[in-house]
Subunit: 261 residues, 3 copies
């Protein structure tokens, strides 16, 4: 019998007791559950970055996995906790748009508002719903509680407009930076399947910088030059070989860029 | 059969091999043990911060859990390794006061000096007792070795004076900052159960700053203003909505504050 | 039945989805595997630091453990993925020298080129072989696939020259810094078994600094002074009590030092 898997994605960092407390609650509810950290280093309250990180990680996990996402600037306010079911996976999160990219990946999904307080950790504090609501509900679901017992289905859950590139001229598109990673790769919102630039003439503009070359891998790149590559995340990325494209560009998640064909 | 749970709390950071080495030793002694990181980012040698973090995390875990705490500025000196039993949990730590808050939480606790060298990892190095003493003893205890076999009971273990607020005038109290967290919340040593300030007139002073408002949650707060909130840790905390109160105050763990009623 | 253990050592950091994605792939292939992080904070592309960290950690794990090492500046180029067997452990890594210290530790080792594409995660991306090649192969091996099914043995795998100290004068040796750790300890490549300096007259030189004292443990050291100690890693280390020797020396991994007897 394989143990149930619960992943964790938060902006709690790893210095404080918050993640450990959530794990303790989950192991109390569902002993033997396999707890896997996706990341606790999402920038505080960065819903878009969390949505992107979740979208990259969850498809690698086996069906039946429960994914716990706690990036929750609205804790203590009226925002609802939700449970989503998609592609055989379950997702527990605040209803603030952090599941937006999941909903786009899996159009056939169901969402429920989490209302069954008997599965909460008592007393429920005002500021730590990760420990008191999200973690215990995730563990109960991992332990076999049917989603229908967690709450009723809803259709008015929050979906944010994470910009896909928009056409702003005959041969000009405006896009955005989804994330910059540890290696300084700059991940754009131009999906590989929609944009084939290799061998074509193009110019990508970020601030005062211009990129007009593609590379197939890091080894192909000349040192100190910027390239577009087909990133493993399914998007065009801007990269430098063994250096940080993000630092060279002064790029940050959320910033604009332009593509001219 | 649920696997035994061992938590880890250290100041080792996560960049070096230290934590991995301890985990390898534990899995060699107790295969299948479930290893859960509380934090490895305690500031080096910060006994108070570790004591606070442990006190927040351990009650969330199931009974039977073994908690390994290695924040040990005295490694290699004569300080003793100890095993504590409290509330059905076991704690392995150096005898330097890092269990002080646990002892305050659970008055009915037992402490033993760890002396049974047959449970150590050999040879015992002079500088890495985490790997050579604390980790293997924790794993043996998790695997079922009775505490009585680890060493004799002692009563002269170290308890530090983590200041509770003291009255310094007719309506004035002096307290301290226990910790500042990733979100910039400033956790004071004023316990919620002892201090009810909502609706009352008060002034909390840190350096040149003054706080005289309370809020029930982050959503209630005006941007840029400091509030006292009832923190999930059971203490009054100073917070700002989506900004760092610690940065605004220049506050650090250990610093003084005053409360005037 | 104890679950198979897989350790992870990368330069991916813990902020992005990379490590989580690899873990998801491994749990899909080998449900119930026990995944243990050694470190994900190796400096990007720092093969020497990864080799040293692995050499310190793997011997603490039980036989049968699979160690996954992904520090891979050549991803997407022609460098081969390899599987090594040594001392009852298995190692999955790129063939770039990152196993050099393991090969020195265990002279009786076998190395195979990983070629069995049926164990890969499809499609194989150009930039994320950790998820698509290394992780799934590690999980298949942990699940019981015989190394011989992974690929043929090779003898021309990469071994780097991690400098041992060299004699450069009648009583002078030149060495190097292997690593500086979180506590600011500076780990040299002078092995304890070869160098006994206690009670002898010596001078170690790093830049303009001179060290000529030894200590047995941190408690023996005067504040603000530099000492040579016998490190738990098996090498001479330069340390200060409750302060960073690395900061005091301006020392970094790879830098030269001299020992005069």
């Amino acid at each position: 019998m394989k143990p149930p898997v619960i992943t964790l994605l938060t902006d709690f960092g790893s210095a404080d007791h918050y993640v450990g407390a959530m794990k303790g609650v989950m192991l109390s509810v569902c002993p033997g559950a396999q707890l896997v950290d996706i990341s606790h280093e999402i920038a505080p309250f960065a819903i878009t970055e969390a949505a992107y990180t979740l979208a990259q990680a969850w498809p690698c996990f086996p069906k039946g996995t429960v994914h716990l996402v706690v990036v929750d600037p609205g804790v203590g306010s009226a925002r609802r906790p939700i449970l989503a079911e998609a592609a055989g996976h379950r997702f527990i999160a605040p209803d603030n748009g952090v599941l937006t990219m999941l909903f786009a990946q899996v159009s056939n999904h169901k969402v429920r508002e989490i209302t069954a307080e008997r599965f909460f950790h008592r007393p429920v504090s005002r500021t730590f719903h990760g420990r008191d609501i999200f973690a215990p509900v995730a563990a109960h679901v991992a332990a076999g509680v049917a989603p229908a017992k967690i709450g009723k289905r809803i259709d008015d859950y929050v979906r944010l407009d994470f910009a896909s590139p928009t056409r702003v001229g005959p041969k000009e598109y405006r896009g955005a930076i989804l994330k910059t990673d540890r290696f300084g790769n700059v991940i754009t919102n131009f999906k590989l399947q929609d944009w084939e630039l290799k061998g074509k003439s193009f110019e990508m503009r970020i601030g005062n910088s211009r990129i007009s070359r593609t590379a197939s891998n890091y080894a192909e790149m000349q040192a100190g030059e910027l390239y577009l590559i087909e990133g493993s995340a399914g998007y065009l990325e801007i990269s430098m070989n063994q250096a940080s494209a993000a630092a060279a560009l002064g790029a940050r998640a959320g910033a604009d860029l332009a593509l001219l064909l």
